[in-house]
Each structure stands twice: as C-alpha cells, then as structure tokens.
C-alpha cells in the first residue's frame, strides 16, 4: 500500500472486508457473497456521505447481481463532471476484478481499453490479487475508480476532451 494517500488508506480500512469466495455461477455461495457486497457498499456509501465525499451511485441491474449500473462524478475547479458507470461481474470473480466501464469516455483517453474499460493494470490489479477474496465492488471503486478519476478527469477537462454540461448547453444555444 505504499504510494497511496492517507485519506484513501484510512477510508479503505473502514470498508468491511468480504469472506465468501464465490462467483456468479456458485449458486447459494454467490448469494452469500452478494450480501457481503451490499454490506460493504452500504458502509462505504454511508461513510462517503458522512465525510461529505459522496461520489458515486451503483445498483444491481439484474436480480442475479451480475450486472451493475450507476453514476460517478468528480469535482474539478468547482464544477461537477458526471459519468455513467457500468460493469459485469466476471465468471472468474473474485479471482479477477470487475472491469469498470465509463462508456461516455470511450475513445477520449488512451488510459482506457475498448468499450470504456478503465486501465487498472499498474496501481490496482496487484492489490486486488493480493487481497482476494477480501476485496469486493466497494474496494474496486475506492482503489480503482476513485484514483483513476482523480488522475484523468483534470487532464481531460484541461485538454478540452470533455466539457462541463453547462458549457455544452450554452455553446449549443448560442
């Protein structure tokens, strides 16, 4: 965990760890895992709200809990930039992490794979591998997506690749 900022570290320690090693094809064990995922997400979301650092919404898009959709946002220069967030739970979960997708940013940055999957190779995947099966969706958002947004959104805004929704609206009106 060297190289991570103090806030991320302390946040991480407060997200409950998961214990059930099960993927979406494991029947009852997966239901158990899903409960643990919810508990971790509830704890993480409450914590963010309490610390005035609310930055995502995520819910299961199907009853099996294998597909998740929602939103995430990032504040840069006092402006809020919001993006759709989606991912599938892979069949080999939790041995492999979910591949987090921001489809609206597909093709706008080279720190991304096809389909808008964010690149997590260097900073996140070794940590996930080391902590299998204790890390879940909440940890992937905290250690994967949050640092990615913090690193990439300012660059994308400053280079003009993404525009704030108010700017887009006003420029199309004029």
């Amino acid at each position: 965990m060297e190289g991570w900022d103090k806030t991320t570290k302390s946040t991480l320690t407060q997200i409950p760890l998961l214990t059930t090693k099960a993927g979406p094809r494991d029947g009852a064990a997966w239901t158990q895992r899903l409960k643990e995922e919810y508990k971790a997400l509830i704890a993480y979301t409450s914590m963010n709200k309490a610390n005035d650092n609310d930055w995502f919404r995520i819910s299961a898009a199907n009853p099996e809990g294998t597909r998740w959709t929602g939103k995430c946002w990032y504040i840069h220069n006092l402006l809020k930039y919001e993006f759709d967030l989606q991912f599938d739970i892979p069949v080999t979960y939790p041995a492999t992490a979910p591949e987090l997708e921001l489809p609206q940013l597909d093709g706008k940055t080279h720190k991304m794979y096809r389909g808008g999957k964010i690149c997590l190779t260097v900073h996140f995947k070794p940590l996930w591998a080391k902590n299998c099966p204790r890390f879940g969706i909440a940890h992937a958002l905290c250690l994967g997506l949050a640092p990615w947004l913090a690193a990439e959104i300012p660059i994308l805004v400053d280079s003009g690749m993404i525009k704030h929704k108010d700017d887009v609206a006003s420029s199309s009106e004029s």
Binding site: T19, G70, V91
Partner: protein
C-alpha cells in the same frame, strides 16, 4: 478480357506491318510486350482451388499437401493425415491468434473455431495477416475470408464475441455478440467447445486443443475456468506490452499447474525495469515477436496433436537477449480454482492405471532387443552414462523460478479468519433488505 487483349495484340501486329517507317517498329514492339504482360496477369487472376478429398503424398506442383506429407517419408510424423480429424479453438484473433490460425490452415487442420469481439483497424497493420482493405470488418469475418481462400478444406467456425450493452448475446447472422467473461458469454463459450457435430464419435469435448491468444489476464482466467471444468487441454500464449518478450505454456488440467495455481509467469525484460516507460494502455507490438510466439505456439500444437518430438510445458522468449527459458510447473494442491482441484484428484486416482500402461509400453518396446555385449573387450573401460535427469527433478516447485522468469501478479495473501468485526448497521442478512438499504442511500 483475355480475348480483348489478344485482339489488341493482333491489331498491333497489323499496325506494325502496315507502317512504312521502320523506326517506329521498336516502340510498337514495346507496346506488344506490355500487352503480353497484361495477358499473363489476366491469366493469373484469382481462382479458388477446389476441395481435396484425401491428402496425397504425390510430389507434383499442384498438390497442396505434398510438402506436409513428406514429413512421413522423412520419419518425423507417423501419420500426418490425422491432422484432418483435429479441431482447434483459437480464442483471440489478434497478432498471435491470426498468424496461428493461418499456420494451422496451411497445415490442413480439420476444423478451426475462431473467437474474437474486435474489428480490424489500421493500427493492426504493423502485425501480420490482416490487410488494409479489411479495416472495419470483424476480425473473425476477415480471418474466415482469408483462410477459406488459402485452404478451403478447413472447416472454419467464427464466433464473434462482442461486448453488448447488457452483456447478453444476441444472435446476428452466424456470429454471437457477447463477451466470454460474462455469465452468458461463458455459457456460449462452453457450449461451442462441447459441440461434437464435426466428429460425433470423438471422446470428451468437441475440440482437441484450445489456444489462448488473448491479451488480458481476465480472458485468460476465463479460458482457464472453462478448460478446467471441461477437462480440456489448452495452450496459453502471450507477448509482453513492450513487445520484446513472450511465452507459450501447455496446461493439462490436473497434471500441470493451471493458470490460477500460481500467479502468471512472464519473461523478465532483462533490462532495468525502472528505465521502461509505462504510460497509458497503448501496448507496443512487433510483427517479429508476435510471429515468433505464434510459430512456437503452433509448433508445440503440431507436436502435441501429431505426437512427435518433445511437447514443451513452458517456453519463454526474451528478444533482447535471445534467451529461451523452459520449465515445468506442478499443480498447486491449494489452488483457489475448485475445478482444478477436482482434476488434480482425478489425476492422482488414475496414477496406477497410468503407470501400468507405461510399464506395458516399455516392456513391449524392450522385448525384441536381446541383450548382447556390443563389444567383447573394453580395454579403456568406456561406459555409456544415461544423461537424462531422474524424473521429477526437472519440474520445479512454483517458488523457485528459473533465471529470467518473474511473476506478473502477487499471490493472494493468507486469509486470517480473524474476528470478523460485525458492523451493527449491517446486521440485516436478507438480500432484499440489503438491496433496499443501498437504494435508500442512493436516493438521497
């Protein structure tokens, strides 16, 4: 077109005869030569060869298999024509997979199953196989187009694994649009490997070998999962992001380490890692490294299928130092993959039968040779020493790697069943109740 060109040649000939000035003859000769050249080109316009029923060893220019069947005459392969019975699945038709598919097609393999979800792009042109005019086609369609021209005898099945918005595969023409890492995509992938319509009498699955030519860890883990569950032998291949190293690996469920038994092995670059630049996800690639790895992969495939030579368990390639490390990996009895553990159990149970078979084979081979001393006297006490290593010593345990190989990811740390601090807020243990709690938080 041929007739028109012939007429043009005649016209030129007539013109030459009717011209009184011989100084113009040389330029007419030149024109005639050019028309002649065009006629030759027109004759060589693409013609598709017809299918061949039996592989012939006859040495004639028109036999597409004469050089392959010669492997039998040279004593390398006992029965080359068996290749037509084999089905090979290639997952990922990129820089390595497409070249591997072409090699197997040219070798006359029976059936190829091709899986990919990507399209051909101009950025792929630094690698082999795909052509600029195929840009925009799916890689599977483009591959089928080229491969069926090269060898119409090969049965080609393209399965286009594209990411669809909801991850559910919808059937488009003959190809599927899904991602093998999703639950639905995985089921389709498994079904396609089990399908035995090509050779119904075959034992086990519908394919003889799966070649993984994908470019990411997640997809490799999915191929590993499917092959462990189906007890299907497969080969893994990979080229590093910096394009200067690669590897191939043979995985026999239960017998060798599976892809999840130990963290994936990669060939160290051999240069100071800190000097390597890693920015973004745009991986470097070279047609040379990809071609070498595809060649190693298909060579191992041919040896495995046609039973000749030594089939490598792991072969690395370091392009900067021209170093080829090899090793063997035993399965991990604590492998996190449940299907791998089942296969390991089966392999151990089958040990007596395997040994009996090996013994019978050895005895059968030893019988005809009656031992007589080769030389009556041995003045210098020369003796022949067996230089083969005792069995087992060549296979390494996973934590002692040969020089030049490193793990790509760390192993999962031992999980301590420490007192799980139960959160008072999350004491609810009903899935619907938990879902409602999260939705309530989301609504605020």
């Amino acid at each position: 077109m041929e007739a028109e060109l012939k007429e043009m040649l005649n016209d030129l000939e007539n013109l030459k005869r009717s011209l009184p000035d011989p100084s113009l003859h040389s330029s007419i000769d030149e024109l005639q030569l050019r028309v002649q050249h065009l006629t030759d080109l027109a004759k060589s316009a693409p013609v598709r060869r017809s299918k061949v029923k039996d592989m012939s060893a006859e040495v004639v220019d028109s036999n597409p298999y004469s050089r392959l069947m010669a492997l039998q005459r040279m004593g390398i392969v006992a029965n080359y024509e068996r290749i037509r019975e084999f089905s090979v699945a290639i997952v990922g038709i990129g820089g390595v997979g497409s070249v591997a598919a072409e090699m197997l097609t040219r070798c006359g393999v029976g059936r190829l199953l091709l899986y990919d979800y990507d399209k051909v792009e101009l950025a792929n042109m630094n690698r082999l196989f795909f052509r600029p005019e195929q840009v925009g086609m799916t890689k599977t369609d483009a591959a089928v187009q080229t491969l069926s021209d090269i060898n119409p005898d090969v049965v080609l099945e393209a399965i286009n694994l594209m990411n669809s918005p909801n991850g559910v595969g919808s059937e488009l023409d003959l190809s599927y649009t899904l991602n093998i890492t999703t639950v639905e995509g995985f089921e389709t992938f498994m079904c396609s490997l089990k399908n035995k319509t090509f050779r119904p009498e075959k034992e086990g699955n519908g394919v003889d070998l799966v070649l993984s030519c994908v470019d990411n860890y997640e997809a490799r883990m999915v191929v590993n999962q499917a092959c462990n569950e189906l007890n299907q032998t497969w080969m893994e291949s990979g080229v590093s992001e910096d394009a200067v190293s690669g590897h191939i690996q043979l995985l026999i469920p239960g017998e060798t380490a599976c892809f999840a038994c130990v963290p994936p092995l990669v060939v160290a670059s051999g240069v100071d890692e800190r000097t390597l630049k890693r920015e973004g996800v745009c991986a470097a690639s070279l047609p040379t490294t990809m071609g070498v790895v595809a060649g190693l992969l298909v060579q191992n495939t041919l040896k495995y299928l046609l039973k000749f030579g030594h089939v490598s368990r792991y072969l690395g390639y370091n392009a900067l130092k021209d170093y080829f490390p090899t090793m063997e990996m035993k399965p991990n009895p604590q492998c996190p993959n449940a299907a791998c553990l089942e296969r390991q159990k089966e392999y151990i149970l089958a040990k007596p039968a395997r040994e009996a078979e090996a013994k019978a084979k050895m005895e059968a081979e030893a019988l005809p040779t009656t031992e007589t001393p080769l030389h009556a006297d041995n003045e210098w006490n020369i003796s022949v020493v067996d230089d083969s290593l005792p069995e087992g010593s060549s296979s390494q345990s996973s934590d002692t790697l040969p020089q030049g190989l490193v793990h790509e990811l760390p192993a999962a740390e031992e999980y301590k069943h420490a007192s799980t601090v139960e959160q008072p807020a999350s004491s609810a243990d009903d899935l619907d109740e938990l879902r409602r709690q999260l939705e309530a938080l989301n609504a605020v």
